[in-house]
Amino acid sequence: MIQRFPVAGEDFSAAGEASSKIKNILRQVGEDAELIRRVCIAAYEAEMNLVIHAGGGEMILKLDTDMVEVIAQDRGPGIPDVELAMQEGYSTASDLAREMGFGAGMGMANMKRCASEMLIDTEVGKGTTVTLRFKTGKN
């Protein structure tokens, strides 16, 4: 099963809705509560990055027998230094985003901690695709 959710850039009030929909789907298919929690945290962080940094994009949910995959795809500015972006505390968020409590530089670290596997495909000026994989333990 594949579902796609568009995410608008700079729209802080609607941000989180795609993650919320992903959560509801995982609940409906009866995934384990702890797995849902991990997916939610990582999906929210990925979604916020689309809103704050990428001018919007798309969240994609893929459900497989033993895997939940969340993909955040955008045509934003790309990440010039992925290693630096992964560092906790490093952020390039705007002052407005920071005032709202975003941009603490913890998003990428949260994603990495929650996912079984995290892949970043990025090119400056072209965009970024973050793939988050979660093993479900169901076979």
């Binding site: 802080f12 009030s13 941000a15 989180g16 809705e17 993650s19 919320s20 959560k23 509560a33 929690r37 939610c40 945290i41 929210y44 962080e45 916020m48 709202m100 409590g101 975003f102 603490a104 530089g105 913890m106 998003g107 670290a109 949260n110 901690r113």
Partner: protein, 116 residues
């Protein structure tokens, strides 16, 4: 502890979801104004103390299944925040007490610490 008992203890009033106070169980509390910090560390059933009043706090509470959001130090949630909370069924509380005092009282209520 039920949320209704906690509300009295921290001199709070419900802004949204008052009808749910008597049933909602409080597992603990988390204090932070950085959303990623809350996402990473707050747990299901906890109340969240913050002075962030914009609508995105509701999204965080929904995703984590928090018991309630408590706006401390007299902070008032934005209208859009209230509307979103109504829509999502999230309980919003506010208190004039400082974040420190609110957290201290909740700690006392939940753990029984510091009682004479």
């Amino acid at each position: 502890m039920k949320l209704s008992e906690l509300v009295t203890g921290i001199e709070a009033v419900a802004v949204c979801g008052e009808q749910g106070l008597a049933e909602k169980e409080v597992a603990g509390a988390y204090v932070s104004d950085l959303l990623s910090d809350v996402m990473g560390r707050a747990k299901e059933g906890e109340v969240w103390l913050t002075i962030q009043t914009h609508p995105n706090v509701v999204a965080v509470a929904v995703l984590l299944n928090l018991a309630a959001i408590i706006f401390t130090a007299g902070h008032e949630p934005e209208e859009q925040t209230k509307a979103k909370a109504e829509e999502e069924g999230i309980i919003l509380l506010k208190t004039a007490l400082s974040t420190y005092e609110t957290a201290g009282r909740i700690y006392q209520l939940l753990t029984g610490a510091g009682r004479a």
